[in-house]
Amino acid sequence: MIHPTSSRPRRIAIALLASIAVIGPLAACSSDDASGGASESGPLEVWTRTDATAAETYDDMFAAFTEETGIEIDHQPVVEFDTQLQARAAQQDLPDLLINDAGSLGEYVSQGFLAPVDRESLAGQEDISDASWDQTLGTDGTTYGVPFSRQANIVIARKDWRETLGLALPTTWQELDDLADAFATGDPDGNGQADTYGMAVPGTAQNGYIARWGVPYIWQAGGELLEQDGEGYTSVVDSPETLEGLEFIRDQFCTPGHVVPGSINYATSDIRSFQEGAAGMYLTGPYNFNSFDDAVGRENVEVIPMPEGPEGTTTFAEGENIYYGSTRERTDDRAALTEFLISAEGQEMGMDSPAAGGDGPFYSVVRLPVNTTLEAGEVYADDRWQVTADAYADASETFPWNINFIPFRQVLADGMNAMMADCESDLPALLEGIDAGFETELANQGLAR
């Protein structure tokens, strides 16, 4: 084990080499970081929150843009978007342009991530409705984003099951309730076993899933969450209307068979019951059409316009915006790309409809177009998309986008998850807890009136 002393210099040399081998790359890394800041020429760095499949749709769009304008795009599909963005912010070097949740606007503005957008200077801006543009205003009245894609949640259901049971499309909460009951007890798949359920529900509080799923019922009952009041907000969640919506949701959870067992812990990625023919309904976004069609057959997947609650049919809307990183200044190139992305041509490419042909991947990164010259139903050649577009246009509401709503969403989701986890839970007390949580968060963010 012990070697002659003559080998010691060699050992020392090896140790030194090893140290250099470790330090070398680290030093190289840090010099990279330092030089990454000033990229005012070269390709335009664009981040999208996408996985590999969706990234292909973007790549096709950017390739078309480069061909038209000669401006090169360095497209970075990022899954852990916000974590990565924080890291880049720490280096004082944000991407030129980012496409991400419209709901991130308030938080990004508060962190200084976004450069203002000059709406009037963008060609084609008039093709986007004023209502959509208004959603990109910060609390200070400045435009910080460009609408890119919108969507509304709708009830996706098993048409074959419903027809087998001889039931009509539900138009009220009561009929929705009856349909869930029929799916659970009427053996709609005809296999003679009680193995079907009314609805699939992402019920976990993680990432606010249950709040995004369930908030339409609060709105349909006439409840509201926060009310804007100048630059501030007040909590208006603790109302009899909100309570009524929450009671309806809990009735679903607590009526055996209405909700797939275990849903209280499920995120959207855990939901397989609809695809596997165990659940008959799923309140979710239209981006699932393709995968559901593949799983249970396109002819069996229908979209139900939101059944009416006591006060209406309001559903939950989300979307994505185009944002400009505040540390970069390539105004003209960014404007050129934006103009392409909101043009009818760009939007249609982003919708990536199978009806338009081409070689796919048929993953729509533009769900409902913000460009008013396009009709979703026509581009997709699919009535279900038109139902979705109508739901968005007629009666939809979003979470507030001009503030950092994520902590509020978490408070709401935690409260709702607690309510639905236990059929004996004290709803009024838990609702008071949500209200108190909202007030605390308003104070934390300096938004309280």
């Binding site: 090893a18 812990n265 505040s326 998850n417």
Partner: protein, 309 residues
């Protein structure tokens, strides 16, 4: 290895001038250590220091951090969700530790020996330890599916027991998370106990047999005292690990339902990465570090005072 070489090398190099000998000998180990130390510095100590710094700031990477004193700590300590998470963490850590120790001990007694069959059995039992916790979580989530078609429920159904809600019931979810924790860590404890068992002098068993001791007496008077060192190791490791429990909970329940399985780390994660409040998350992490250090010291004190080696 370097320290073992010292006496022999000193003997060999008596001709060299004393100062040169001293220098070369004292530099060489540091050079060897340079690589791991550098790694530790870059990936452990620098982030730790940064974490300490961030815990006193409102973290805004672009606009510049804003010093807030102990405000982040006050927010963590005053947050009822963190208080609940802390008690869940203690409960889960304690339950998992005790459960895994008992099961590990039982396994060790069951699988001690050198026959090929026992060796194969030991390997099979050890598998959970080398499986990624995220994978284990996913598998158990499938086993725990609360409808009649779930794996465990279909077994219970065959025995005439009604379907259990498992992770869906806020009253029992923590228990079922604990079962997964025990299943994962017990085999590791088994190996430590097996090593301890091998160190017990066989003649003690013979003496006990001669004295007419039953199995119960042999375990209490021979095996357990002989395993003191092993148990100390198990407890120390458990003290360090149990408080930072994360992956099982995150994968199995995400902290739900109704926050009933939320532990310190899942709460910290959601504050840090869902709400992007890195200052508060850092403060929570520092408190966790402090609690871990205290717990480890207490466990060491407690187990070593019970008897000298």
């Amino acid at each position: 290895m370097t320290s073992a070489s010292t006496p022999m090398e000193a003997h060999r190099v008596t001709d060299a001038p004393p100062r040169a000998r001293f220098r070369a000998r004292s530099v060489a180990p540091w050079l060897f250590l340079a690589v791991p130390l550098l790694f530790a510095l870059v990936f452990k100590f620098v982030p730790l220091a940064e974490g300490v710094r961030m815990s006193f700031f409102r973290v805004q990477p672009l606009l510049g951090d804003e010093f807030v004193g102990f405000a982040n700590y006050t927010r963590v300590l005053g947050d009822p969700r963190f208080q609940d998470a802390f008690s869940h963490t203690l409960l889960l850590g304690f339950g998992t530790t005790v459960g895994a120790m008992v099961v590990g001990f039982f396994f060790a007694l069951l699988f001690e020996g050198s026959s090929r069959l026992l060796r194969a059995a030991r390997t099979a039992v050890f598998l959970p330890v080398v499986t990624a916790v995220a994978v284990i979580g996913e598998i158990w989530r499938l086993l725990y599916i609360p409808s009649e078609v779930g794996f465990l429920n279909s077994i219970l159904g065959a025995l005439g027991i009604p379907a259990q809600p498992f992770l869906s019931d806020p009253g029992t979810a923590l228990l079922w998370v604990g079962v997964v924790g025990i299943w994962t860590t017990a085999p590791y404890n088994m190996v430590i106990v097996l090593a301890g068992l091998a160190g017990i002098d066989r003649s003690l068993y013979e003496a006990a047999a001669v004295d007419g001791a039953r199995l119960r007496h042999r375990i209490m008077s021979v095996v357990l005292p002989g395993l003191r060192a092993s148990i100390s190791v198990i407890l120390t490791l458990a003290a360090i690990r149990s408080l930072r429990l994360f992956t099982e909970v995150f994968v199995l329940t995400g902290g739900g339902p109704a926050g009933s399985t939320e532990v310190w780390m899942t709460r910290t994660y959601s504050i840090g990465f869902a709400s992007n409040d890195l200052g508060v998350a850092s403060a929570a992490s520092m408190l966790l570090l402090l609690a871990t250090v205290v717990l480890t010291v207490v466990v060491r004190r407690f187990t070593s005072s019970k008897g000298a080696p």
